[in-house]
């Protein structure tokens, strides 16, 4: 905290003298004690707020960065990560297979059905003239020719 060099005469010195006159601004009396108790309070509420997941991630991080056996831990974490990724990919594949085998409509099939819907409706109307006569309001929609 020592000043490094004696300052020679010059106008810059005057500004520096003025700045030194400003001096340190000490906190008000009793401030530090209150500050500390507020700090404790905030720490407690922060701990309560933090989710279980956050705590888990923090603990993993602390464990990883602790100096004892850091390399080994990082390698273990890497292997763990790869296994997790593999599991996720595998689960996705299985889910896709299940969807296909259960007959779920794929997006492309769905689009094709929507496009062919007007012609299907027209065919349906033509094959049932009696029903059309009873319910004329159903035929109000103009059909594309």
């Amino acid at each position: 905290m020592n000043r490094e060099e004696p300052r020679g005469p010059g106008s810059e010195n005057e500004v520096q003298k003025l700045l030194r006159m400003k001096g340190l601004v000490p906190p008000p009396e009793g401030y530090v004690e209150n500050f500390l108790s507020e700090f404790h309070e905030r720490q407690r509420s922060e701990l309560l707020r933090r989710s279980a997941r956050g705590l888990f991630v923090e603990r993993i991080g602390t464990w990883l960065w602790h100096p004892s056996g850091r390399g080994l831990k990082l390698a273990a974490a890497g292997v763990g990560g790869v296994i997790m990724m593999g599991a996720v990919v595998q689960l996705n594949r299985r889910a896709n297979t299940l969807r296909e085998s259960s007959g779920a409509i794929s997006p492309s099939t769905e689009a094709g059905l929507i496009e062919s819907f007007p012609s299907m409706l027209r065919q349906n109307n033509a094959s049932d003239p009696e029903k059309n006569a009873k319910h004329p309001d159903k035929n109000d929609v103009p059909m594309p020719k």
Partner: protein, 199 residues
């Protein structure tokens, strides 16, 4: 804490407290808070010019230090480490504050400090002589608030807190040359602002 201070230097004392904090001793971290709060208060207050902001920033600084004290490897002193957290958090806060002010003023803000009233040119030499020391200090505060955040940080650390160039360079992750040139520029700016009072 007082027992060990008789045999060890302040830096070593900090090291002991840090090691104890890293092992989960919250009382040791409290001692660090009590020790560094007054020093950091002066630093942050000179940069923000606002007591409430200073208080909030310091709470955040110690919360961050508490969260990451286990990762502190002792590459620098705890003093340098906590100062760099405080300076960086204050600079980030000031950036946000000036951005919000500019936004609130419809992009017409000056980007200066909150109390930065314009310095009117003083008419005669007589009036200049009548300006008291207190008024001069007030003018100096205004002039300081007109500096950029980075320049104000350097001036606060060097001129007000009496820190050496090398320490400031470490805290701000700059070269000593950059610190010196920023100081020189800041002093020139302050001289220009106070020109009328120095005559």
């Amino acid at each position: 804490m007082s027992a060990c201070s008789e045999q060890t230097s302040p830096a070593q004392e900090d090291q002991i407290l840090v090691a104890r904090s890293q092992n989960g001793d919250t009382a040791a971290f409290d001692s660090l808070v009590v020790k560094f709060t007054p020093k950091l208060y002066g630093l942050v207050y000179h940069m923000t010019d606002n007591h409430e902001d200073t208080h909030d920033i310091l709470q955040e600084v110690f919360a961050k230090a508490y969260r990451s004290v286990r990762r502190f490897r002792g590459g620098s002193s705890f003093y340098t480490w906590i100062y760099s957290i405080a300076v960086n958090m204050t600079l980030n806060f000031l950036k946000k504050r000036s951005r919000n002010r500019r936004f609130a003023l419809g992009e017409e803000g000056t980007g200066g400090g909150q109390k930065a009233e314009p310095i009117e040119p003083v008419a005669t030499d007589d009036t200049v002589r009548e300006v008291s020391n207190r008024e001069l200090k007030e003018r100096l505060n205004v002039a300081l608030q007109k500096l950029s955040n980075e320049h104000r940080a350097v001036v606060t650390m060097f001129d007000i807190q009496g820190m050496p160039h090398a320490e400031i360079a470490k805290i701000l992750s700059l070269s000593e040359g950059t610190v010196r040139s920023r100081l020189h520029y800041a002093h020139q700016q302050l001289q220009n602002h106070l020109e009328d009072f120095r005559k």
